[in-house]
Symmetry: D2
Subunit: 325 residues, 4 copies
């Protein structure tokens, strides 16, 4: 069996899939809405053994997959927005006037990393008007106090993103933080057609950068919902996986045992070197993304922002979204 456990993915469902069935401390459930072509997979990581195997924190990870996310298909997107806002509602437990802070992670200058900032631009921000005379009483009943920030990335600010968010949380004292980020998938087939929600926190820059200070209830002191879409695959991962395919094929077909052993040997010895050589001088710092990434990111930002607007504001429905945004 090909062992892939040393390759990183931000998606819990990919990590679980790679590990096969014999997972201890992990539950995986999947349901399919045939009509809408929507597959929902829920991964629960129950304990440290599950954490270790999936290299993800304890918590619930809900993934919605739909090919329609890559197309301009509003009818299908309505189904996704409805399902996404329903699942988001399940992950939080806010009182009527509790404040929510939405954080758009990522670098607004790099198209596939701009999902967070682009989502923030469409979130209905209300914290500064609730409780003031500027807002009629009836609007007040429709909206929760929501605020939103785009903290930037360390290369632009010189500050760990986690530090900036923690500073703001300490002042604003929200009851919930929602963090939006672009992710890295393992498989090209999940790019831009998969939305993962989780109550287990997030590491800013995991998708396109290095691991940074975690945003979670542990570090921020309030519940954190992370929402992410894989928009890139790490280039080294892609090449490595492609080499695995061809070697697996050859092993299956292989006749002479000398050959078989050489191949197994090759895998261990050569693969890493070939990947490095192919990516020189960039090593692990290249990513793969589709050409039409700009259009797709804009659409995904709209879907996530609208799902948040419905899930966070008590009086906003899908009909309002269709009209207002």
């Amino acid at each position: 069996m090909r062992t892939t456990s040393n390759v990183y993915t931000d998606l819990a469902m990919e990590a679980a899939g790679d590990c096969g069935d014999e997972l201890d401390g992990v539950t995986v459930m999947s349901e399919e809405d045939g009509e809408a072509g929507l597959v929902t997979t829920t991964v629960h990581i129950h304990n440290e053994e599950g954490e270790r195997q999936l290299r993800k924190s304890i918590g619930t990870y809900i993934t919605l997959e739909s090919q329609s996310l890559m197309e301009n298909d509003p009818t299908a997107h309505e189904v996704i927005i409805k399902e996404l806002s329903r699942k988001l509602g399940e992950l939080h437990n806010l009182g009527k006037d509790d404040v929510a802070l939405v954080v758009g992670l990522g670098n607004w200058n790099v198209t596939p990393d701009a999902l967070g900032p682009k989502t923030i631009a469409r979130v209905l921000v209300t914290r500064h008007i609730t409780g003031t005379d500027a807002v009629a009483r009836d609007i007040e009943d429709c909206v929760r106090p929501v605020c939103a920030v785009t903290p930037g990335v360390m290369g632009l600010t010189g500050i760990e993103t986690g530090e900036i968010v923690r500073g703001i949380v300490d002042r604003v004292r929200p009851s919930l933080v929602v963090a939006i980020d672009a992710l890295a998938a393992r498989s090209i087939s999940r790019i831009n057609c998969t939305i993962q929600m989780s109550n287990a926190g997030v590491n800013p820059g995991a998708g396109l950068g290095n691991k940074r200070m975690e945003l979670s209830s542990k570090t921020l002191g309030v519940p954190v919902i992370a929402i992410g879409v894989p928009t890139v695959v790490d280039a080294a991962t892609l090449i490595s996986d492609s080499l695995d395919y061809i070697l697996d094929d050859m092993i299956e077909q292989g006749g002479c045992s000398e050959f078989y052993n050489m191949l197994k040997d090759l895998q261990a010895q050569e693969k890493h070197g070939i990947v490095q050589e192919a990516l020189t001088p960039y090593a692990g710092n290249m990513f793969v993304t589709p050409k039409e990434v700009d259009a797709v990111i804009g659409r995904l930002a709209g879907i996530i922002a609208n799902s948040l607007n419905i899930a966070l504001h008590p009086g906003i429905t899908l009909d309002d979204i269709n009209k207002y945004f």
Copy 2:
């Protein structure tokens, strides 16, 4: 004498000028560099009486004025960068490894309010690389740890800008905060050709918005240098001043005393109403700015960022700026 004390300006030198000579608790000094066409005015507000009269906090306000700021005149801009960085150097007293945080105030979506964010994009950010292996020892000696954020405006975030900055300051604990903001002047003739520095703090959004939580050593616990350029004049102020001109003219020329008294009466009674009528339905929420505002803001952001790069980083000179930025 025309009383203008009820009209707001962000410039201490304009406030001092309107109050005439009899100012208690305020010192005003002016020097002119004829060659470069550069006028430097320093206003010291010494005590609460000075604060009350100028409606500005106690502290030093240095203003550089040069018509060349509105033109593409690099030779003149070099003189300004040199002078600006020298004056900035006088306002701070940082040790070699002390951290400076630069804050770009304002709304990046509104051209004349984008000075702060545009400046941040050109500041050399180094805090994340100093003290790491990524930086050679000799670079380390050239640069101070500088970090930089663009907190946005309350209409976009739902949070007081001062709260965001204070949260970040609490985490990063810099030894100095430098805040860049677009200002409102009283007089059109100061737009885009005046740079004010001050150690007395700043109210984010003073230029284009309402008064917000002050950024100052009082609220942040560290010294604050504010750098601002007036990029707009409030439309109500402009109309009001224009009406004053014409009425003053008429009073000077006026023959019959009945007429004279009516005019004085008019000033008090009608001016406010006429200004309101002229700006309906926008009341105090309109500003005046020049058509070529985009080009000028870009140039000013470059001048301020480069002055900061020289003033904050010990090993960076004007020659480096010419080459690097």
Copy 3:
């Protein structure tokens, strides 16, 4: 009577209003939809005498006015989109497969001048996919071949915008050109709440710049529909009008004849000088715009783009707009 004919406005309805009732060669009709608070004014300029008086070309100018354009009021915006797309439909006479070219005039770097480019970003562009295998037959029936460009402004390109558009029209040979531009109004009260459509062509940069080569059936050889929203008032116009208000007031109240004559004299002599002095050193190159201009421009761009999407594409309805855009 105050004569204002020497002050410029891009709005035919303002020009007609200033001229009073005795207009030869001009018909003005107005209707009000009380429920939606929507006032529609149609100005027909029939002949050269009408052209001369209104300083606008022969043609039809339809203006929709609604205070709701300045607010986030989707129900009212639906009514406007419906009416706007209906009126646009009346102005063109395209066959099923005729190509339409939409042109977004203005400077994308200056917020109140960015209406055209921002509208283009939301127009459904189809010319490159119609007639290809990429598009299913049923989509083909829904959409007309539409293309769209943002030619920039002369300060950025060094080329008259009209020359760029004419060059593209010569290659693409559309059956209709639709030009979107930000305009200058005479009155602050029309800013951002007025949409003017016309079949009489447009002068790019009329709102924020100088008069340039006209885009019209005369210069392009195909019908041109112009859509514009006044987003600024010229600062000199605003001051001049404010002075008129106060002088008119004084004349009404004035007792002694000496005074009356002096005032009349003043109007002629001094007003121009005072306006110039107030705007020094910017002369005629300043504009007035509301502080929240960024949010309003975004909303207006959406309303115009959606009206165009309905008016140009045979199979797209308001319901689709609600879902898709």
Copy 4:
């Protein structure tokens, strides 16, 4: 020998390198400036045989390679700007008042494709001021009439980029067109550290899109200089090349002839399938680019724009560039 002739590269020097020495109708010369680490390679394609082999049009292709392009190394960049402007000067033969049109190809919404539009933003545009009273006589002597456009990409406009450019050329009638575009390289090692100039025209969108209408003296009727930087590698090419590496390695080591034959067979049969499988569902529409692409593109745009400013404007030197831009 591995045959790679079916894989595309925009770089003539890569195409020539892959073809080995036995090229008919192609001359390749290379020189190295050791101090600056700058390698200049000139490929002349003399005839149709050369065209066929390299799949590039007849003409001269000059490539500058320097690792310093990926770093913030202004001293090295000065050498490159000097060399680039010198080589550009060799490629054109403009009279003093001849007009040059600079075209920034590519999609401004996709970071690695935005090189052209970002370069245009820094080109000194003068055509609209030369010959007018706005410009003093002495400035007139320093600058050539230069104009510049960013035509967008077909997905945004619905129009072939070549059609837009041709339309503008027909109106403006420049004596030279300079087209800037992001390219696709074959090898990761050439990404962002290679600048190619050519007098053989360009196909907009070659790097990130499909082949479109050529911009060349043939299609535009005036000389065309193309300047490009490879900012991406096609993902399918990268995987395919990586598979080649590993198979070549195995063949070299291989013992049994059965094995050897199988491998050769595999290459032909399986490689294409594996590449397709790895990239499903994106097929040939994915690209690979480095994470810090935003910073690099900005720097490259500045280097190319400044080289153009020196090469096109007779009175602008490297010293001016250091000061002005």
